[in-house]
């Protein structure tokens, strides 16, 4: 099977969209002439022209608001906010407007808006450029939130997102762009709201999303030496999240740790942990653990930054401690 990068997978999804859906255009900062801040849209301005690949002024709030209004008016915009850190400027349009158009108009209007952005740290970009804010969006009724961790899922989810009639926050990860994975040439779709068991196991359930899926998989591999067979679940969609797959897994393993890059306090792990203990308490042989980003603004210094982001070593330690191994 062909192997491509995560970046190429997203780009393929966008090209398919632009080719197959006349109503689609990409609007964001530096998506055109610059080729995309992360080179995702490289070449697309030349290929599709300035009507379909639109360089925006530096106005995040208006990028989201204009794309919301445009979606209400019958087109299918892909708004790009360069990094999830910059979505903060646009929060009013995302939460108060895009997310509420269908419900507040009682279904008269809806906004098929695809909001692409990039999360995560680890590139020494310091506190305002290294955050993982996707759990915040995952709390908002009216938004769907997807967090693909692999090229296969990135392309498959984008295809599914194209069919959505309401806003979706499509969260890529800064350190995943160059990662590689198998992606078939034949057309396939990854459905929203469905988690993926990336590694089957019987002793422990690790729940993760985005880049932390790779961290969890690395930990699972290493834990084999300690005679622990981990199941790794990639949530893929945070809102709505696939509770059934997680609960079914915990019923079998009896143990669960959630691994995420977002701040531990109030992170998505809290939602998963609370749900697991609410619904399959009797299956648990120990408390549900959460490994999240350190509750700090992320520093520039390399070693300090690495301390702030969960590593496979931390996951290994936590699993072994939970099992007294």
């Amino acid at each position: 099977m062909p192997i491509i990068t995560y970046r190429e997978a997203v780009a393929r999804g966008l090209r398919e969209g632009l080719t197959e859906d006349e109503r689609m255009f990409i609007l964001g900062e530096d998506v055109g002439s610059y080729g995309g801040a992360y080179a995702v849209t490289k070449g697309m301005l030349k290929e599709f022209g300035p009507r379909r690949v639109i360089d925006s002024p530096l106005s995040e709030s208006a990028i989201v608001g204009v794309c919301t209004g445009a979606a209400m008016g019958g087109v299918h915009p892909v708004a790009e906010i360069m990094t999830i850190n910059f979505t903060l400027v646009a929060m009013d349009q995302i939460v108060n407007h895009a997310a509420k158009i269908r419900s507040i108009s009682n279904g008269q209007y809806h906004a098929p808006l695809i909001l692409r952005t990039v999360t995560g740290g680890g590139a020494q970009l310091a506190a305002t450029h290294s955050q993982s804010l996707e759990p915040w969006f995952a709390s908002v009724p009216g938004l769907k939130v997807v967090t693909p961790a692999t090229p296969y899922d990135a392309l498959g989810l984008f295809r599914a997102v194209r069919e959505e009639e309401d806003p979706v926050v499509f969260v890529e990860h800064i350190l995943l762009y160059s990662t590689r994975g198998e992606v078939p040439d034949a057309r396939y779709v990854v459905p929203l709201g469905k988690a993926d068991v990336k590694r089957k196991g019987i002793d422990f359930t690790l729940v993760a999303y985005s880049r932390m899926v790779q961290v969890a998989l690395a930990a699972a591999q290493a834990l084999e030496e300690h005679d622990v067979d981990c199941e790794v679940i990639d949530l893929r969609t945070l809102r709505p999240w696939d509770k059934e797959t997680v609960l079914e897994s915990v019923k079998r393993t009896g143990h669960c740790i959630v691994v995420e890059e977002a701040w531990r306090t109030g992170g998505f792990g809290a939602e998963v942990a609370a749900s697991v203990q609410e619904e399959v308490f009797d299956s648990l042989d120990g408390p549900v653990g959460r490994i999240g980003g350190a509750d700090v603004p992320i520093p520039y210094n390399r070693d300090l930054e690495q301390l702030a982001i969960p590593s496979s070593e931390r996951v290994i330690q936590a699993v072994r401690a939970a099992l007294n191994k």
Binding site: P57, G65, G69, M72, G73, G74, V75, N106, Q108, R239
Partner: protein
């Protein structure tokens, strides 16, 4: 009112009467909404358009049915002028299932897609990028459609004003911004909130044409808005209109109104858009007192029926809570 208007040559008596009736409908509706609010039938926030009627009526009369309107939370007048039924708006204020959004939006969020009324919005300035987006869609789809975006003087202080004006002008989008400058945000005069004195001149920063008009004069509004809307419709780009006006009531029903002087209020009430237009109609032989009285009665009846309709309508069911919430 001025002595002559070019636009009058294009308008027949019936049309001239309709402007009076529409303004009177808005006035009567708003006054009644205020009363129903005091009776506890309308809850939450209620922002009345009393005194500003000429802007909504003069503007909508310059539009075609397919044109979009997005506005702020003082939106009943705009909705009525766009043809949204008084019944449905009153029912919405009462929170009923028969309201414009089935009780989900309330006073600040009147929507009627069938009439291209794309919302009242409660976040100051929030409607601006959305209006620009609606215009962008129209241009992209090559539709013959103009978007009118109403804003208050307060919205000009928000960052989204800057972003929206910039994009609209850069991309020459078919959007007309109508700033209803009633001289106050909530309780702070615009002179203490905005460094620019002549608000319409802010458009110059974006190379956007602009004009200031007398928002108390329905024919002046009608005349200028036709030119401005035609400009946008011809694909020449956006326009910014500052309409000077005054709200005769407080910011909302909750406003203790301690920040304006009686003298100022009285001075503006002498420019009441409905009274002055009425005098103009009679003086220029376009209407008799009997014509006007007939319209007044018809409006009273319409508003009374709207209240009755709202009273008799059912509440939405509990299941409505999760309707239209897809995630």
């Amino acid at each position: 009112m001025m002595t002559t208007y070019r636009i009058v040559e294009e308008l027949d008596k019936k049309t001239l009467h309709s402007y009076y009736r529409q303004m009177q409908l808005i006035r009567t509706f708003e006054e009644r909404a205020g009363v129903e609010y005091m009776h506890g039938k309308v809850r939450g926030f209620l922002h009345l358009y009393i005194g500003e009627e000429a802007i909504a009526v003069g503007t909508m009369a310059s539009l075609q049915p397919q044109d979009y309107v997005a506005t702020h939370y003082r939106d009943h007048g705009h909705a009525l002028a766009k043809g949204v039924p008084a019944n449905a708006i009153m029912a919405e204020l009462f929170g009923k299932a028969t309201g414009t959004t089935g009780g989900m939006g309330g006073s600040m969020h009147i929507f009627d897609k069938s009439r291209n009324f794309a919302g009242g919005y409660a976040i100051v300035g929030g409607q601006m990028p959305i209006a620009v987006g609606l215009a962008m869609a129209s241009a992209y789809l090559q539709e013959n459609r103009v978007t009118v975006c109403f804003v208050g003087d307060g919205a000009l202080q928000e960052g989204e004003f800057h972003e929206s004006m910039n994009m609209a002008s850069l991309w020459k989008l078919p959007v007309v911004f109508v700033c209803e400058n009633n001289l106050y945000g909530m309780g702070v005069p615009v002179s203490q909130s905005l460094a620019k004195r002549d608000l319409y001149k802010l458009a110059e920063a974006y190379e956007m044409p602009s004009v200031q008009i007398d928002g108390m004069d329905v024919l002046a509004v009608r005349q200028t808005m036709q030119e401005v809307v035609d400009y946008a419709r011809a694909g020449k780009g956006p326009y910014f209109v500052e309409a000077k006006t005054y709200r005769f009531r407080g910011h909302s029903m909750a406003d203790p109104q301690e920040y304006r002087t009686q003298v100022e209020e009285q001075r503006w009430e002498m420019k009441d858009p409905i009274h002055t237009y009425k005098d103009w109609l009679v003086e220029h032989g376009f209407a008799t007192e009997a014509d006007l009285a007939t319209m007044d009665l018809s409006v009273e009846d319409e508003v009374q029926k709207a209240v009755q309709f709202a009273e008799e309508s059912p509440n939405p069911p509990a299941s409505a809570l999760f309707k239209n919430v897809y995630a």
